[in-house]
């Protein structure tokens, strides 16, 4: 039976672990503008990136955006997930497909649509100007709020479907029992539904948080050149600066921060809901 996992393990080893080992080696090398990199074995790049106020700020911004987007997505997604999880109509599969529909559109295409909406001459500004609500176009594109909105639109289906699949498995009888015992709807949600759906909430939050931390297209297209997140910073070093060692270093820092917060969140969640 154990042999069944061999193909998957080989694939992961070849396509994930192998390149990561290579990248880690590159992160310890020294940048050269003409030779791409010079073979060394030094933690200099990590020290430089960790002590550079610019990259500290980029990591903080990335974390802030990811945490905010995860929280907002959870708040928006939960009621929808509850409805999807509880729906018993024969149209349920259509509802699931409709939830998935935004994922059929690529991130870049979706962001291009948002750009058309948010631009100074875009749909929103045109409507605001024509209705006289504003005298001058307002700045929507290339702002942090555009990025947050754009990211939430991308990750919402992941959160809804992850939570809905758990809510679906919670017996309705439990809600009826709580109601019969005099619990209000709010109390039933807080003491019964939420704790039982916690695994779905945790899984959804982790999935969404990881996606937010690694956002590239939405941050570049909607945030503009001045908005700083880690994935565009990694790209900048690899592609524009041709500085592979620093690009690899930043990629590992992003990975470490993402893994650290994910582990911390998972453990905290498990303690909160398993102990009780």
């Amino acid at each position: 039976m154990a042999l069944l996992v061999v193909p998957a393990c080989l694939l992961v080893l070849a396509l994930l672990v192998g390149p990561m080992i290579l990248m880690f080696r590159i992160s310890l090398e020294q940048y050269s503008p003409t030779q791409l990199m010079i073979a060394t074995f030094s933690p200099d790049n990590y020290v430089r990136a960790a002590t550079d106020p610019y990259y500290q700020q980029v990591i903080l911004t990335t974390l802030g955006v990811a945490l905010l987007c995860t929280a907002l997505t959870l708040v928006i997604a939960y009621p929808a997930a509850y409805w999807v999880g509880r729906i018993q109509s024969r149209w349920k599969s259509l509802v699931v497909i409709a939830t998935l529909f935004p994922l059929l559109v690529g991130n870049v295409v979706r962001s291009a649509g948002w750009m058309a909406l948010f631009a100074r001459g875009g749909l929103i500004n045109t409507l605001l100007l024509r209705t006289g609500l504003v005298a001058e176009p307002i700045e929507l594109l290339y702002t942090p709020k555009a990025v947050v909105l754009g990211i939430i639109a991308v990750v919402l289906p992941y959160m809804i479907l992850t939570i809905a699949s758990v809510i679906e498995s919670i017996p309705r009888d439990l809600e009826d029992a709580a109601s019969n015992l005099g619990a209000s709807s709010l109390r039933t949600f807080w003491r019964v539904i939420l704790p039982l759906s916690a695994p779905g909430v945790a899984a959804g939050c982790i999935l969404v948080f990881v996606l937010c931390m690694n956002t590239y297209a939405t941050a570049v297209l909607l945030g503009g050149p001045r908005f700083k997140m880690m994935a565009p910073a990694v790209y900048d070093q690899f592609v524009r600066g041709n500085n592979w060692p620093m690009g690899a270093t930043l990629a590992f820092m992003l990975l470490a921060v993402t893994m650290g917060f994910t582990l911390f969140g998972s453990i905290a969640f498990a303690r909160r809901y398993r102990v009780k």
Partner: protein, 344 residues
């Protein structure tokens, strides 16, 4: 129902078709892989060089489309390999300089590229043919700017506050303009740092791409920019009311070049291709469609096109020859300053 035998034979057939048709590893000698930009450039190469000039020679061109940075990185990463993935590599002059410095390109001479004799001498290099070129100018909206700036330094006049737009992807070219405005030179970018910070305080707008900048010029969100004359020509053709000024401090040129990697699999075909890129009709077509100036003396442009894309004798004397050694050595500092201080 699909049997195991059917599945295996179909898979093998598909794999065979894939490797024989698409993998550069199995490219035959009649196939030529050209590493190039996509968009208008790639399409024009296909329409003006590949189909009419190369296909009749029995060479099938396969375009490896990517931006310059991934192509440059690929060339650097592959330079130790016995067999590379490209036969012809198109790069800008500054990128070609970096790759050529690693000895990754074949030397070019008239024995290999017969039309090299027609190339303007100042554009020749040892390892590349100059395909097309343009100059960096000040673009301005003719409806909004009645007294256009005459120098890069004029762009720091507070009256243009919030009305100047720059393309983020041209960080290096924009830094050079700032250096020249501040009294710097091709070997001294130091003044650029103060000038960029002054520009920032004048609320200069930065756009992620040339296309986003064009949209901002069209909507009159910004009125002025530092840009290649050729781009200005294309934007003007698309209906944006623009004109240009060749700045007093001088105008850095950009030359788009093509080289043959040492580990190319089809070198003979590659040199044939470089020759075709210098064909006078092909050169004139690039000027007409994209606004880039021919690099050969026998390419004749229609007068109206020539007026719009070429530099006058007086303006040609203002061409600034860049020092790529200095620019390359300083590239990380330039990028870091652009990202961390100017945009930060």
């Amino acid at each position: 129902m699909i049997s195991r035998r059917h599945f295996l034979s179909a898979s093998a057939g598909a794999a065979s078709a894939l490797t024989s048709n698409f993998s550069p590893a199995n490219a035959q000698s009649s196939q030529l892989v050209v590493g190039t930009w996509g968009g208008d450039y790639g399409q024009l190469l296909s329409d003006i060089v590949d189909k009419p000039l190369i296909a009749p020679k029995g060479i099938e061109v396969v375009q490896d489309v990517a931006n310059a940075d991934p192509r440059k990185t690929k060339l650097l990463a592959e330079r130790q390999s016995r067999r590379g993935s490209m036969d012809v590599a198109c790069l800008s002059d500054s990128d070609a300089y970096i790759v050529a410095g690693t000895n990754a390109f074949e030397a070019i001479d008239a024995g290999k590229v017969s039309r090299l004799g027609k190339v303007f001498p100042e554009l020749k290099t040892e390892t590349a043919i100059p395909h097309i070129y343009s100059a960096q100018v000040i673009l301005y909206n003719t409806n909004k700017v009645t007294a256009p700036p005459q120098s890069y330094a004029d762009l720091w006049d507070p009256k243009w506050r919030g009305r100047i737009g720059l393309a983020d992807i041209l960080w290096s070219a924009n830094t050079i303009a700032a250096a020249l405005a501040g009294g710097g030179s091709p070997t001294n970018f130091d003044p650029a740092e103060k000038m960029l910070m002054d520009w920032r305080s004048l609320d200069v707008k930065i756009y992620p791409s040339n296309e986003a900048l064009a949209a901002a010029l069209k909507s009159e969100e910004v009125w002025l920019s530092v840009m290649w004359l050729a781009r200005g020509f294309m934007w003007k053709k698309s209906g944006i009311p623009l004109s240009h000024v060749v700045p007093k401090e001088g105008t850095p040129a950009i030359v788009f070049e093509a080289s043959v990697p040492r580990n190319a699999r089809n070198k003979e075909g590659a040199f044939t291709y470089l020759d075709a890129m210098l064909d006078p009709k092909a050169q004139a077509a690039f000027a007409d469609k994209m606004g880039y100036v021919p690099t050969v003396s026998d390419a004749v442009l229609p007068e109206d096109i020539a007026q719009q894309v070429s530099l006058s004798e007086a303006d040609r004397s203002k061409l600034v020859k860049l020092d790529f050694a200095y620019q390359t050595e300083r590239s990380q500092r330039t990028l870091d300053f652009w990202n961390k201080q100017f945009k930060g």
